[in-house]
C-alpha cells in the first residue's frame, strides 16, 4: 500500500479512536467535538473534489453547506408543526429521506451556480462563486418565513432507523460512516476515468481539450458532486446543533471549509480530516485562552500559506502540494 493511503487510513482511525476514548472516559462533550470534526471534514472532502482535484477555487461552498442545513431544518420544523410543505408534501424527521433531499437541492444549486461560474476562470471564478453564495446568504437573512437573521431551530434531532441519534456516540457513528463513505467515493472518483479527466483539466486544459475532452462538463459534474457532499455535511451539521442560521452560508464558512482543505493539504484524500481536526483543536484550546483566537488562526494560516504550501499531510509526507 502506498504511504499516502496508509496515512489516510491512520488519520481517519485517529478520529474514531479519539471518539471512542472520549466515550470510554465518559467525556460526551469530546465525542461531540469529534462529531463536529467528522462533519466539517465531510464538507472539506466535498470541496476538495472541486478545489483539490479539479483546481476550481470555489469561495462559495458554504452556500451548499447552508442549503443542506436549511433543507434539514425546514423539513424537520414542518414535520414538528404538522404543516405541509409546498404541494401538500409533509415534512419529515427521517434522516434517510432528509439526506437525499438535501443533496439533491444542493446539487441543483451547484448545477446552476456552476453553470454560470464555470464560464469564467481564475480570479473571476473566485469572486463569482463568492458572490452567488452571498446572494443565498442574504436571501436566507431576508426571508422571514424560516427565521430570517435569527435562524431556524428544531427541538429534536432527526431520526435514523434503529439508532438513537440523540446519544452522542451513535450520532458520531453515523457521521463518521458517512465521512468514510465519502472518502471511499472520492478515492474511487479520483482514480476513475472521470477523475483522470478532471485532474487533467486542472493541470493542462489546453492539452485535455486537444485530446478530445471538453473541460466544461467534466468540471461541472465535479462541481455538482462536490456541492452535494457539502449539502450532506450541512444537513448533519444542522442535526448536530438542531439549529441552522444564515451564518452557515456566510463567506466566513466558505473560507473555513477552504481552510480545512488547505491546512490538511490540497488534493489529499484525508487532508480535510486533518485540517478540520486542527482547526477545531485550535478553537477548543485557544478559545478559552483568548477571545481573539481567530486572529491567531489567521497568523497560523498565513504562515502555512507562505512557508508550508503542502499543508499538514504535505509536511508529514515531506512533499509539496499536488499539482
Amino acid at each position: 500500500m502506498r504511504r499516502e493511503a496508509i496515512l489516510d487510513i491512520a488519520i481517519f482511525a485517529l478520529l474514531v479512536l479519539f471518539a471512542l476514548v472520549a466515550f470510554a472516559t465518559g467525556q460526551n462533550f469530546a465525542v461531540t467535538i469529534a462529531t463536529k470534526i467528522a462533519i466539517l471534514a465531510l464538507a472539506g472532502v466535498g470541496l476538495n473534489l472541486a478545489l483539490g482535484y479539479g483546481g476550481l477555487v470555489s469561495f462559495g461552498h458554504a452556500a451548499f453547506f447552508g442549503i443542506g442545513g436549511y433543507v434539514t431544518a425546514i423539513l424537520a420544523s414542518h414535520a414538528a408543526n404538522y404543516e405541509p410543505l409546498a404541494f401538500g408534501l409533509p415534512g419529515t424527521t427521517q434522516m434517510l429521506v432528509i439526506w437525499p433531499v438535501a443533496m439533491i437541492v444542493a446539487g441543483i444549486a451547484g448545477l446552476v451556480i456552476g453553470a454560470l461560474s464555470l464560464g469564467t476562470s481564475g480570479v473571476y471564478f473566485i469572486m463569482v462563486t463568492l458572490a452567488f453564495a452571498q446572494m443565498l446568504y442574504y436571501l436566507a437573512v431576508s426571508w422571514p418565513a424560516y427565521g430570517g437573521e435569527d435562524g431556524l431551530s428544531f427541538y429534536v434531532r432527526n431520526s435514523f432507523p434503529g439508532v438513537n441519534t440523540l446519544a452522542p456516540v451513535p450520532f458520531f457513528a453515523i457521521c463518521a460512516s458517512l465521512l468514510a463513505l465519502a472518502l471511499l467515493v472520492s478515492a474511487c472518483l479520483t482514480r476513475s476515468r472521470f477523475g483522470l479527466a478532471l485532474q487533467a483539466t486542472r493541470q493542462n486544459p489546453m492539452r485535455t481539450t486537444a485530446t478530445g475532452i471538453r473541460p466544461f462538463p467534466v468540471r461541472l459534474v465535479a462541481f455538482v458532486i462536490s456541492a452535494m457532499i457539502c449539502g450532506l455535511a450541512g444537513s448533519l451539521y444542522a442535526d448536530l446543533n438542531r439549529f441552522v442560521s444564515p451564518a452557515s452560508m456566510s463567506w466566513h464558512m466558505s473560507g473555513e471549509i477552504m481552510v480545512f482543505v488547505i491546512l490538511g493539504g490540497v488534493g489529499r484524500l484525508a487532508g480535510p480530516i486533518a485540517g478540520a481536526a486542527v482547526f477545531i483543536a485550535l478553537e477548543q484550546l485557544l478559545g478559552p485562552v483568548s477571545d481573539y483566537w481567530l486572529g491567531l488562526v489567521g497568523v497560523l494560516l498565513l504562515l502555512i500559506v507562505l512557508f508550508a504550501p503542502g499543508g499538514i499531510t504535505g509536511l508529514i509526507l515531506r512533499e509539496k502540494r499536488h499539482g
Binding site: 480570479v123 473571476y124 436571501l139 481552510v259 486572529g295 507562505l306
Partner: protein, 303 residues
C-alpha cells in the same frame, strides 16, 4: 416622486463609495495580478483611524486625513511584509493568505477597540440638509460623498491617463519584465499602487463609517459588493469599476426602496418580505445576467 429622487441620490452615493473600493481592487488586480480579500480590512482600518483621531482631537477633518494616512501606511506595510510574497503564487494562495489577513485585522481591531460600534459626529459645515430643485431636501454630507467619489474618479482617470506613474502602471499591466528592464523599481511601484488602493479604501471606510457606524466586520459586505462591481465592470478596468459601481449602487438602493412597493398590487400583504428578499438578490441577478452576456465583464479585456 421626491422619494424616487432621494433614493436615486442614495443609490448614486452608495455607488460612488463602491467605486472607490472597487477601483483599488481592480487596480491592484490589474497591475499585480493579485486578488486581495483584505481590501475590506483596509476600509475598516480607515474608519477606525478616523474615529479614533476625531475622538482624540475633536476634529473630524483630522480624522479624515488620518484615515487616508493610516490605511495607506498599513497597506504599504502589509504589501512589504506579506503581499509581495504572493505575486508569483496562484490565486488559491492569495485568497487564503488575504483571508488570514482579514482574521488578523478583525481580531486585532476588536482587541484594540472592542466589539461595540463607534459613531462619528459631523462638523457643522457638513451636517444638515439642503433643498434641491424639485423640492427634495437632501443631507449635505451625502452630496459631499458623491462629489468626493466623482473627484476620485476624475483623479484616477487623470493619473492613469496623464502621468508618469500612470504610464508605469499601464506598462506594468502589459508587461512586468519590460517595465523592470526600463529601470523602474517595480517593487516600489507595486508598494505605491497597493498603498494608493489602500488609501482609497480607508477613506471610503471613514466616509461610510460616518454615515453608518464604525465597527469590526464593516468591510466585509462592502468587499463582496466591490467584487460584484469588478465582475460586472471587468477586471482591471477603472472605467468598468465606475460603471459597475453605479449600476450596483443604484440597482441595490432602488430595488430595496421600490420592490416592496411595486409588488404590493400583485402580492398584497406578502409584498414586504418577498420584495425585501428579492431586492437583496437583485444585484447578484444583475451579475448573473452580465456573466451570461459578457463573461469578461462590461469593459474587461481578458476572459
Amino acid at each position: 416622486m421626491t422619494l424616487l429622487i432621494e433614493q436615486a441620490l442614495n443609490g448614486l452615493q452608495y455607488g460612488m463609495m463602491l467605486f472607490v473600493m472597487a477601483a483599488g481592487l481592480t487596480l491592484i488586480f490589474g497591475v499585480m495580478g493579485l486578488i486581495n480579500l483584505a481590501h475590506g480590512s483596509l476600509y475598516m482600518v480607515g474608519a477606525f483611524a478616523c474615529a479614533a483621531v476625531a475622538a482624540a482631537t475633536g476634529s473630524y477633518w483630522l480624522g479624515l486625513v488620518a484615515s487616508l494616512i493610516a490605511a495607506a501606511f498599513v497597506g504599504a506595510l502589509v504589501e512589504r511584509l506579506v503581499i509581495r510574497r504572493l505575486y508569483t503564487r496562484d490565486h488559491l494562495d492569495q485568497v487564503l493568505a488575504t483571508f488570514a489577513l482579514i482574521l488578523i485585522f478583525s481580531e486585532g481591531t476588536r482587541w484594540l477597540f472592542g466589539s461595540f460600534p463607534l459613531y462619528l459626529s459631523l462638523p457643522p459645515a457638513l451636517a444638515g440638509a439642503v433643498s434641491l430643485p424639485g423640492g427634495v431636501t437632501y443631507p449635505v454630507f451625502r452630496l459631499v460623498i458623491i462629489a468626493v467619489g466623482a473627484l476620485i474618479a476624475l483623479g484616477l482617470w487623470l493619473l492613469i491617463g496623464r502621468t508618469r506613474l500612470g504610464i508605469r502602471i499601464r506598462a506594468g499591466e502589459a508587461d512586468r519584465e519590460m517595465i523592470s528592464a526600463l529601470g523602474v523599481d517595480i517593487g516600489a511601484l507595486y508598494t505605491a499602487v497597493f498603498a494608493l488602493g489602500a488609501a482609497l479604501a480607508g477613506m471610503a471606510g471613514a466616509l461610510v463609517g460616518t454615515l453608518q457606524s464604525v465597527q469590526v466586520g464593516m468591510g466585509e459586505p462592502v468587499l463582496i459588493l466591490a467584487f460584484v462591481t469588478v465582475v460586472i465592470g471587468g477586471i482591471g478596468s477603472i472605467k468598468g469599476a465606475f460603471i459597475g459601481a453605479l449600476l450596483v449602487g443604484i440597482t441595490d438602493t432602488l430595488g430595496k426602496a421600490l420592490l416592496p412597493v411595486l409588488l404590493q398590487p400583485v402580492l398584497g400583504a406578502g409584498a414586504g418580505p418577498v420584495g425585501a428578499a428579492l431586492a437583496s438578490v437583485l444585484i447578484y441577478l444583475l451579475m448573473a445576467v452580465v456573466l451570461i452576456w459578457r463573461p469578461q465583464g462590461l469593459y474587461g479585456a481578458r476572459a
